[in-house]
């Protein structure tokens, strides 16, 4: 049967040629529309390398003049007060905007023995007494074990740092294990305590991140206090909405010490969403989705329409085949096969320029397989690798193409094959 179909298609090559050409163009642009949808969706859903669930950041407020110094105990008392809530698992003081969903970033240059050049990395700083809580709350995971890093108490926390996989790859380009090795700023020397899984920023791209811990100052000037934030993690079974309501209505006003008090609280999730909206990523993403979906809808109509017309022209053939003894299912199968052959061949042609463009764009070529980390389908590395990315978008596009072609075929062929053969045979 397939041989007959191919023969028939070849004999109708003039008309099939135009359809083929049209399908190549549609396939090409459909792939291009599918690509951002897949990428954005994947980036949004993949492991971001930190904990976004059940985590909150508390905003602090303090009054005072430049001459007035406040004891750090005022801050630590507030942290201790937060920890008294039965829903709270841990709380930690961090430097301002030094947690995963924070907006501003401090860039500092570092080097190692192996890097040669100074490398600019994003610096997040916690405070050494709160080093372990900081790691517990942020949810960074060790690149090798996948678990929360545990601070080795033999080395003072202010002398250690953690590197994200990408930062480690930059500082140690020979891919040696950096744990225990030194990195330098222009002022300090730090020992690498561990490598954490890459952390994504708002755009879904990785941040070359270094985390260090400073000693808590003994006092601070309230007027300049806004160098600190408090981050909170709830227990696994705690209800975040209930916690927020209870915290804001009953606890917040009591959490004050000296000139410091809590001004408000937001979940990591809210901060993430707000920031994405504020800096325009949410809007851009929506626009991208809408444009892509619009094109997919156009492609759908184009393919379905073309196939519909192609099958519609062969109405009397459908009637004839029924008269010759074909079943309705047999006719559908024949036309499906024909549509699938046309779509597959044209897609294969369209894939050649698509692969060339994708490879040349260098977009997917950043290799981050540092330390031979396990790479599976849920890995955030996925989108950076040509073959898996290209393969998945190719399969998604192909499924859409074939599905659309089948739908166009089904609507027409089903209509005529379920008619009485005499009706389908009647000249139009």
């Amino acid at each position: 049967m397939t041989g007959k179909i191919l023969k028939q298609m070849w004999h109708q090559r003039k008309i099939n040629g135009w359809i083929f050409l049209e399908l190549i163009i549609i396939s090409f642009f459909l792939w291009k529309a599918m690509d951002p949808i897949y990428t954005i969706t994947t980036l949004d859903n993949m492991d971001k390398g930190y904990n976004k669930e059940n985590a909150f950041a508390a905003e602090m407020e303090a009054r005072g003049t430049m001459e007035h110094e406040e004891s750090i105990e005022d801050i630590t008392k507030i942290v201790d007060g937060i920890k008294l809530n039965h829903m709270v698992e841990d709380a930690s003081v961090t430097k301002k905007f030094s947690y995963p969903v924070s907006t501003s970033t401090t860039m500092v240059s570092y080097r190692s023995e192996e890097s040669g050049d100074w490398i600019f990395l994003t610096l997040y700083s916690g405070y050494s007494p709160y080093a372990q809580p900081y790691l517990n709350i942020t949810g960074y995971t060790d690149a090798n074990t996948g678990k929360t890093p545990v601070i080795n108490r033999e080395i003072p926390a202010e002398n250690i740092c953690y590197l994200s996989s990408m930062a480690a790859a930059q500082l140690f380009p020979d891919k040696s294990n950096p744990v225990g090795k030194k990195v330098w700023t222009r002022r300090d020397t730090l020992t690498v305590a561990g490598v954490i899984n890459d952390v994504t920023a708002y755009y879904g791209t990785y941040t070359s991140l270094i985390i260090n811990f400073e000693p808590l100052p003994e006092s601070f000037i309230p007027a300049l206090y806004n160098h600190m934030d408090i981050i909170i993690k709830l227990k696994d079974n705690a209800d975040p909405d209930k916690f927020r309501k209870h915290f804001m209505e009953n606890e917040m006003q009591n959490l004050r010490s000296g000139n410091c008090r809590i001004a408000g609280i937001k979940s990591f999730d809210e901060i993430y969403t707000d920031v994405r909206t504020e800096i325009g990523i949410a809007g851009q993403t929506k626009l991208q989705y809408m444009l892509s979906l619009f094109f997919i809808a156009c492609a759908f109509l184009g393919i379905a329409g073309t196939i519909w017309m192609k099958c519609n022209r062969r109405r009397s053939e459908i009637g004839l085949l029924r008269a010759m003894g074909s079943t309705k299912a047999g006719i559908l199968k024949m036309f499906f096969t024909e549509s699938a052959i046309l779509v597959t061949l044209s897609y294969m042609v369209a894939l050649i320029p698509l692969a060339a463009i994708t490879l040349n764009s260098n977009e997917f070529m950043l290799s981050s397989d540092y330390l031979n980390l396990t790479i599976d389908n849920t890995s955030p590395y996925l989108y950076k690798r040509f073959l898996p990315h290209f393969g998945i978008v190719t399969i998604l596009t192909y499924a859409t193409l074939v599905g659309t072609a089948f739908l166009g075929t089904y609507i027409t062929v089903h209509k005529y094959s379920t008619q009485q053969p005499s009706q389908a045979l009647r000249e139009e």
């Binding site: 049967m1 041989g3 007959k4 023969k7 028939q8 298609m9 004999h11 109708q12 009397s316 053939e317 009637g319 004839l320 085949l321 029924r322 008269a323 010759m324 003894g325 074909s326 079943t327 309705k328 047999g330 009485q420 053969p421 005499s422 009706q423 045979l425 000249e427």
Partner: protein
């Protein structure tokens, strides 16, 4: 028992506004090996009747028995198989598939019989030989004359060896010489191979050559 038996066949075409009675209480019996002509003016229901006998259309009411099988109760799969094995069709406008060559067109009914390709080709070639078109088997319908196209259509109708051949004005699109050729072929198939043939025609002379004439007028059998 009659080879083909139609009892109280009615066919009504309905639209929102009009109801047309195409066939009214038709009762026909055709014996095995008979060559029957159906005649009547245009629009009297001849082709509708042929379509109903050929299971290409359903009657609004009535019973059809072919070869002892009550065909109206058959499901799609069985009906398709029954059509394929028992009925051959010849249409006025040939209904050949233009994108397939003569051999492939003739092979078509055999495609639905799970038959090896070689066997299909052998049978198709054999029948083309019989209708005198073995030299045209790799030609396409557009490269053939009307008479040749109709011979291909007849070859296709009989390649699967059905006992019943239904011909709807098989010479309607042909000149008299080609028409005569086609009629000779149909007579041969009837006499030499014993096939039951029911032919719709407007041609009185051709109808007289057949064993029986059934005349229709306004959806009713008048003779």
């Amino acid at each position: 028992m009659a080879h083909i038996s139609l009892k109280n066949i009615n066919k009504v075409y309905r639209t929102d506004e009009i109801e047309t009675q195409a066939l009214e209480n038709v009762n026909i019996e055709v014996q095995k090996g008979e060559f029957v002509s159906i005649m009547g003016p245009s629009g009297c229901g001849k082709s509708t009747l042929l379509n109903i006998i050929g299971l290409l259309d359903n009657p609004s009411s009535g019973e059809i028995t072919i070869n002892g099988t009550q065909v109206l109760s058959l499901k799609d799969k069985d009906l398709s198989s029954f059509r394929n094995r028992n009925l051959g069709f010849v249409f006025q406008s040939f209904h050949l598939i233009g994108s397939l060559n003569v051999l492939d067109n003739v092979e078509l009914p055999l495609l639905y019989r799970n038959m090896p390709a070689k066997e299909r080709t052998r049978m198709a070639k054999e029948i083309l030989e019989k209708v005198g078109l073995s030299h045209r088997m790799y030609h396409y319908p557009s490269q053939l004359s009307g008479g040749q196209c109709q011979r291909v259509a007849i070859a296709r109708a009989v390649v699967g060896n059905p006992e019943i051949l239904l011909a709807d004005e098989p010479t309607g699109n042909l000149d008299s010489r080609m028409g005569a050729e086609i009629m000779d072929l149909l007579h041969r198939l009837n006499k030499e191979e014993g096939r039951t043939i029911i032919m719709v025609t407007h041609n009185e002379a051709q109808a007289r050559q057949t064993g029986r004439i059934i005349r229709f007028f306004d959806g009713r059998q008048v003779e």
